[in-house]
């Protein structure tokens, strides 16, 4: 076996998905929660290492194609790793590993002991699903892995302590299944016109039939389906409750990754499969998405301002941040796409940090109502500082990651000469200031309520991952070379521009 190990290098794309996938049933065999946690953590770490290796490989030697079953591409399923999905894979695995680190402590108080093992299994499955969606080069395979990640997501969300978690999970299930079925219809229509399911093959064969009404319908269905998963305004209704009432770990993981995967799909379908000219010239996608993105930013941010449950607040903020990504996407220029990709990465960093910190608050206080935050700045200084830095990053204060992506977004808008949109984007940041500051004010400038029991700082298992993320938040806000370079390269390759 050892002799074969160097050869495994070739198999990295499939190992990326297979390792967490195989780990899930093994967890069921391991049975006891503690070893399962360790095992899951190691698995996720391994997946992270693989994604780093993959990214390295892609950046140096270009697209990797891996034929599953040894069958050639349009007949068998192909894994196709280019810069875009290597980047997204890295986001998913890194966040997953860091979040998982805190999982054991966090779920201790949120999930009954007998279900911990199931929790880790579902977590790994959900990770598998996302990785599978991103890695694959086959349209139908996307659907299958989408369902793996969605099903585990429904179950994970329903494990929340509050009974509303169940209702939220149900709503998400209905919306998610409709979305998946729409995608299925879209893939079916595409298949009917081209006879192939392979993305690369589709992208070559679709232009021949691009003018047909069927392809237009296929496009519409795929996009609507993906947007349902994406929680793009006005299809976002499932998201706030799902994020707010899920166990904290789940929220931290999903807020950082699930919507990113959906955005990846959106980019993949519009740019790679249907192609730029079809997506943006034949169809008025640009205006539509720009409008929806902006509406999302404003409506979600405004709703966030009025929330009393802090998880709900940041859930709405997530919808608003999705709006930013969509605006960047709708510009359909290299800079705009770079901004979107950067924001995917950056938003993952800040939101996972914030939600993990909220998990720590949940761990100590048992709830995350605004009124519980009175004077928490003193009692849990590290946790609250993390939330504040994460919040500043959401606003887009310089030297945090949020600034970098906003900078690119503005540049992209100015390139197109869309001044009013740029102003609106900035106004959106002002709304972010308001909702972040409400929390800061309560936490730092209000005395604790008299009936509130003083609490200690969160345990180390929280502080370490939270601050890893926060430091990453600042580091990538200052040293932007890595993230910008990768995002730019990915964007360029999607536009077919050679640097």
């Amino acid at each position: 076996m050892i002799a074969h190990l160097p050869a495994l290098q070739v198999h990295l794309p499939v190992l990326q998905v297979i390792i967490p996938l195989m780990a899930a049933p093994i967890c069921l065999i391991l049975k006891r929660a503690h070893p399962v946690w360790l095992f899951a953590l190691i698995t996720s770490g391994l997946a992270f290492v693989i994604s780093v290796l993959l990214l390295q490989q892609v950046m140096t030697s270009g697209v990797i194609s891996y034929e599953l079953g040894g069958w050639q591409a349009p007949w068998g399923i192909e894994y196709r790793i280019d810069k875009l999905n290597a980047f997204v894979l890295l986001i998913i695995t890194s966040i997953s590993t860091i979040v998982l680190f805190a999982a054991q402590t966090s779920i201790e108080k949120e999930i009954p002991k007998s279900k911990h093992t199931f929790f880790y299994i579902l977590y790994l499955l959900s990770l598998t699903g996302m990785l599978g969606i991103v890695a694959t080069g086959d349209a139908f395979n996307v659907f299958v892995f989408l369902e793996i990640s969605s099903l585990s997501a429904y179950a994970l969300i329903a494990m929340g302590k509050d009974r509303r978690a169940l209702w939220a999970a149900y709503q998400y299930l209905i919306m998610g299944t409709i979305g998946a079925t729409f995608i299925l219809i879209g893939i079916g229509l595409m298949y009917q016109m081209t006879g192939t399911l392979n993305m690369e093959d589709l992208s070559q064969r679709l232009p021949e039939v691009a003018q047909t009404r069927t392809v237009f319908t296929a496009f519409a269905f795929v996009i609507v389906g993906v947007c349902l998963k994406l929680a793009l305004f006005p299809l976002h209704l499932w998201l706030p409750n799902a994020y707010a009432y899920a166990p904290s770990i789940v929220t931290a993981f999903f807020a950082a990754t699930a919507t990113k995967v959906a955005i990846y799909l959106l980019i993949r379908f519009t740019f790679t499969i249907f192609g730029l000219s079809f997506s943006f010239t034949t169809i008025p996608l640009q205006t539509l998405f720009m409008a929806l993105g902006l509406a999302g930013i404003f409506i979600a941010s405004t709703s966030a301002i009025y929330q009393k449950n802090i998880k709900l607040l940041f859930a709405y903020s997530s919808i608003a941040q999705i709006g930013y990504m969509i605006v960047g996407f709708s510009i359909s220029s290299v800079t705009g796409l770079t901004a979107t990709l950067l924001h995917m990465f950056n938003h993952a960093l800040m939101k996972s940090a914030i939600f993990l910190a909220l998990g720590a608050v949940m761990y100590r206080l048992g709830n995350v109502q605004l009124s519980s935050f009175h004077g928490l700045g003193r009692q849990m200084p590290f946790t609250m500082a993390a939330i504040v830095i994460g919040g500043l990053s959401l606003i887009g204060v310089p030297l945090t990651v949020g600034f970098v992506s906003k900078w690119y977004l503005l540049l992209a808008l100015l390139e197109q000469g869309w001044w009013p949109v740029a102003v609106l984007i900035l106004l959106g940041s002002v709304l972010a200031v308001i909702y972040v500051w409400r929390l800061v004010e309560v936490a730092y400038f209000k005395e604790p309520l008299s009936d509130q029991v003083p609490v200690k700082e969160a345990p180390m298992f929280f502080i370490i991952p939270i601050w890893t993320l926060i430091i990453a938040n600042i580091y990538f806000g200052i040293d932007t070379r890595l993230s910008v370079q990768v995002a730019q390269a990915a964007a360029m390759s999607l536009f077919g521009v050679t640097p």
Binding site: L410, L411, E415, V423, E441
Partner: protein
């Protein structure tokens, strides 16, 4: 010590920051904590003075910290305007710290560690702003300054303080995010660089309308300069303790604002371009209106600090106006006014604080005859008033003079009239305070019987001159120093003038 100037430049930014850490560590011991602060002040002054000398010897110093994106750097250099600002800020930090020690202790404020901590952080940001080599660096620390001063504004922690803090943060952050950032990104987009360069960074054939819009965005975006539609934060921040007000109004925040405007005018647009932009005229009138209106509002304020706040708004208008005049005289006038106004206004605030601490009065109508109890304080108040008004023997004379010159050079007669009028208004709202303090019976106050609910006020009327009760000693020393500053600037403005003229001379 033979530190290189580059190192000193960095130290000037880092020392206050280190002070933050030291204050945090020594927070439990007030004496040690304040000792640390003062030590940091002294080191900072030493550094800045050294830098000043270095500049005078013709050294060009620049430091690159980090390249965020290609071409977008955090870097610093020194030039006369920055040195000017750094000098005044570091010096007044020392003075304010002295004052604050007396004020805070006698007022028995809570959270004093947080106060000194944020104070030092703010100064660190101010130093970085002063030495910023490009607009981006400046913007970064501009935001740091906003955030670090927020806890100072809401220091009292009361509902009112929080409301004030919200307005403060709301206006400053939103203007900076919506307008300033947009302007910066657009500048970057149009010019391809953000480095400060004498004569501007825009190419000559830049679209004038676009540049004009950018100018408006800059002037509105720099909310700290408190140009009229976005001035609300300044009076709102009045809830802060007096040393904070002094810091905000005289040293750090507003000066950072007008400093930024000057920097933008001189080094981003360049005076040549500025004078031909279509929107300059509009902004000039806006600044003029700001000057006049704020003065008018100031007259109606009974709260001393609020009156001073509106006075600040009006004075900032001068500086903006001078910068926008786009002539050497205007720029010199503005630069000098930054310093001179700083000394004048900080004295006024110190006095207001001293009155509050010793006599617990904050309303002007209650201050009749206090000159007998606090003669020194009120004398200082008088001299500082003169400096603000701009009459000898106080420094304000010179800056007003150059500003007037600027309006005449550019034949902006309307603005000249505005300046004159505002001087009259200054007299009308500042001088009566000191007059009443010393000669309570000179003009009968009609309001007095209605407003005598305050016990202290009535007691003084009944028993005049019970003796001299001055402010705590550290505060008093601070007041005296700044008052002397006002006077010295009149008698010996030469170095200041040279520095201000050097702003426009190309050193390369």
């Amino acid at each position: 010590m033979n530190l290189s100037l580059e190192l000193m430049l960095q130290l000037a930014i880092v020392v206050p920051f280190l002070a933050v850490v030291a204050i945090l560590v020594t927070g439990h011991n007030p004496n040690l904590r304040e000792g640390v602060t003062i030590a940091a002040c002294l080191i900072l002054i030493y550094l800045v003075v050294n830098l000043y000398q270095g500049l005078a010897l013709g050294a060009t110093i620049s430091v690159l910290w980090w390249e965020l994106l290609p071409g977008l750097t955090i870097s610093f250099n020194i030039e006369p305007l920055g040195i000017l600002f750094a000098l005044i800020a570091s010096f007044l930090w020392l003075v304010t710290t002295c004052y604050a020690i007396g004020y805070m202790r006698s007022h028995q404020e809570k959270n004093q560690t947080r106060f000194y901590l944020c104070f030092a952080l703010a100064i660190s940001a101010v130093m970085a702003i002063a030495f910023a080599a490009n607009l981006f660096t400046l913007f970064v620390f501009y935001e740091v300054l906003t955030l670090s001063t927020y806890p100072l504004v809401t220091h009292a922690g009361t509902e009112k303080a929080q409301k004030g803090g919200r307005v403060y943060l709301g206006i400053l952050l939103s203007t900076s995010i919506v307008f300033f950032l947009l302007a910066i990104v657009s500048t970057w987009f149009v010019a391809g660089t953000l480095d400060f360069k004498l004569g501007g960074i825009f190419s000559a054939d830049v679209d004038k309308t676009l540049a004009g819009i950018l100018l408006v965005l800059f002037v509105f975006g720099i909310g700290k300069a408190a140009i009229m539609p976005f001035h609300r934060w300044l009076p709102a921040a009045m809830v802060a303790p007096t040393p904070v007000s002094a810091l905000l109004h005289a040293v750090a925040v507003v000066k950072a604002g007008v400093f930024t405007i000057l920097k933008v005018c001189i080094f981003i647009f360049g005076l040549d371009l500025l004078s031909v932009l279509p929107t300059t005229q509009f902004l000039l009138y806006l600044a003029g209106a700001s000057v006049l209106l704020a003065s008018l509002v100031a007259m109606r304020q009974d709260n001393l600090k609020a009156r001073l706040a509106y006075s600040t708004v009006s004075q900032l208008g001068y500086i903006t106006l001078g910068a926008l005049l786009a002539t050497p005289s205007g720029v010199i006038g503005s630069s000098m006014h930054i310093v001179i106004h700083a000394f004048g206004k900080i004295t006024l605030f110190f006095c207001a604080g001293a009155i509050l601490v010793t006599l617990h009065k904050s309303k002007i109508s209650e201050m009749r005859g206090i000159g007998r109890q606090m003669p020194l304080t009120m004398l200082a108040f008088f001299i500082a008033s003169l400096s603000i008004i701009g009459v000898p023997p106080a420094g304000g004379t010179w800056s007003k003079w150059f500003l007037m010159m600027g309006t005449i050079e550019t034949e902006q007669w309307v603005l000249m009239v505005i300046l004159m009028l505002s001087t009259l208004l200054n007299i009308a709202y500042l001088l009566p305070i000191s007059f009443h303090a010393f000669f309570p019976d000179l003009i009968p106050n009609k309001n007095q019987p209605n407003k005598c609910s305050n016990k202290a006020a009535t007691s003084i009327n009944k028993q005049p001159a019970i003796g001299i009760t001055e402010a705590p000693l550290p505060s008093l020393i601070a007041i005296v120093i700044t008052t002397l500053g006002c006077l010295i600037l009149f008698i010996y403005p030469q170095p200041l003038f040279e520095l201000a003229t050097a702003v426009l001379t190309n050193r390369e």
